[in-house]
Symmetry: C2
Subunit: 195 residues, 2 copies
DNA sequence: ACGTTAACTGAACAAATGTTCAGATCAAGC
DNA sequence: GCTTGATCTGAACATTTGTTCAGTTAACGT
């Protein structure tokens, strides 16, 4: 047997990335073998190399895609307005975005150490850019007296860490719904930086 | 060559755990080989099995030790008092404890997925116990009107996620000192649950 | 209908993995 | 000084790892 029926690169390519994302998030980059990914896709391990030069690129590409999508999505969602308004938008956007992509955040925040130096630097820049957009909001609000934060960079890190935490425990159909979770987190964040 | 000079189980045993902790935290459980751990200790791979039945137990033991130490340390540090006082104690204790043990928290919160089911359940219980002590404080404070938290379990998770974040960026000799960081985090936490 | 080529298989590769074990070596007690 | 037992080496093991590649198949343009 060789080429399967009804299979194209246009189908298999995304399937490979989806499978890798799912498995990396579930078990960690190092714990997942190319054969497991291939199995998930329904293909032999060798076929994966039609869609990625190697395993490391698979991880780096997934992380880059995620970060670029995140930055673009926030750029689109940012409605401007006063710093408190923008902060609320940011918090709700961040939670909503990641609850829709729980696997993404898992690898984006846990697999940095498995990136080779060159890839690491690239992803770190994207990450700092995203974090920077929150710092910017906090700076603007602090200048106007909306927020009382002794160090906006630290506050941004603390805020993102808190918001990210949601994906580690939130389960669809659980005790709390999305809207509730979103509002409760936003409320905590709002108060934590309040003047 | 065989037995090295001046080496005892009393020395090598802890060394093995230290090396494993350091390497697991740095690169992740799955990415670290027994030979790397042995190399760090200054011993051959086979010798590790004098101190652990297998690699999995090494991880599980490290996590259990960490959680038990954490629980014991908090039990000793908890001075009682009003809920706001206890919350402050908890926050400061948590940050201080983990800044002293950055590697521990890394594996305790990132390697859960690499535990076999039996070990996972055991560690999860310890983790819930620790988280429960924070929930308890929040419940008591909410009942007295000290805190305004719509869901104490969620608030506890959010708080711990925020506090844990400190170990991902804090570096000794950096822009901010320990005491400053501790106070800023406590201040954010205090406000985030304030009535 | 046919040839071309993209998509995939299946086997192979060297290297690395966790783990075992017979034997070598040293420290300590008699 | 000899024996004993704890401590470690070094080689071996079966598997699994990431990756390559010659060959096979099926879809598509002509």
């Amino acid at each position: 047997m060789a080429r399967k029926q009804g299979s194209h690169a246009g189908i298999t390519g995304p399937k490979v990335r989806e499978a890798a994302l799912k498995l990396f998030a579930r078990h960690g980059y190092a714990a997942v073998s190319m054969r497991q990914i291939a199995g998930e896709v329904g293909v032999q391990a060798g076929a994966l190399y039609l869609y990625t030069p190697d395993k490391q690129s698979l991880l780096a590409d997934l992380m880059r895609e995620h970060m670029e999508e995140l930055l673009a999505a926030w750029a689109a969602a940012d409605r401007g307005g006063t710093p408190p308004e923008r902060l609320e938008d940011f918090a709700r956007f961040h939670i909503r975005h990641h609850l829709d992509r729980p696997d993404n955040i898992f690898i984006a925040y846990m697999e940095l150490r498995n990136l080779e130096p060159e890839n690491f630097r690239e992803i770190e820049i994207l990450r700092n850019r995203y974090e920077g957009s929150l710092v910017e909001i906090l700076d603007a609000g602090a200048a106007r007296g909306d927020f009382a934060v002794p160090d906006t960079r630290l506050a941004a890190k603390a805020a993102i860490a808190m918001l990210n935490g949601v994906t580690t425990w939130y389960r669809e159909g659980g005790r709390l719904g999305r809207a509730e979770v979103e509002t409760i987190y936003w409320d905590m964040l709002r108060k934590s930086v309040a003047a």
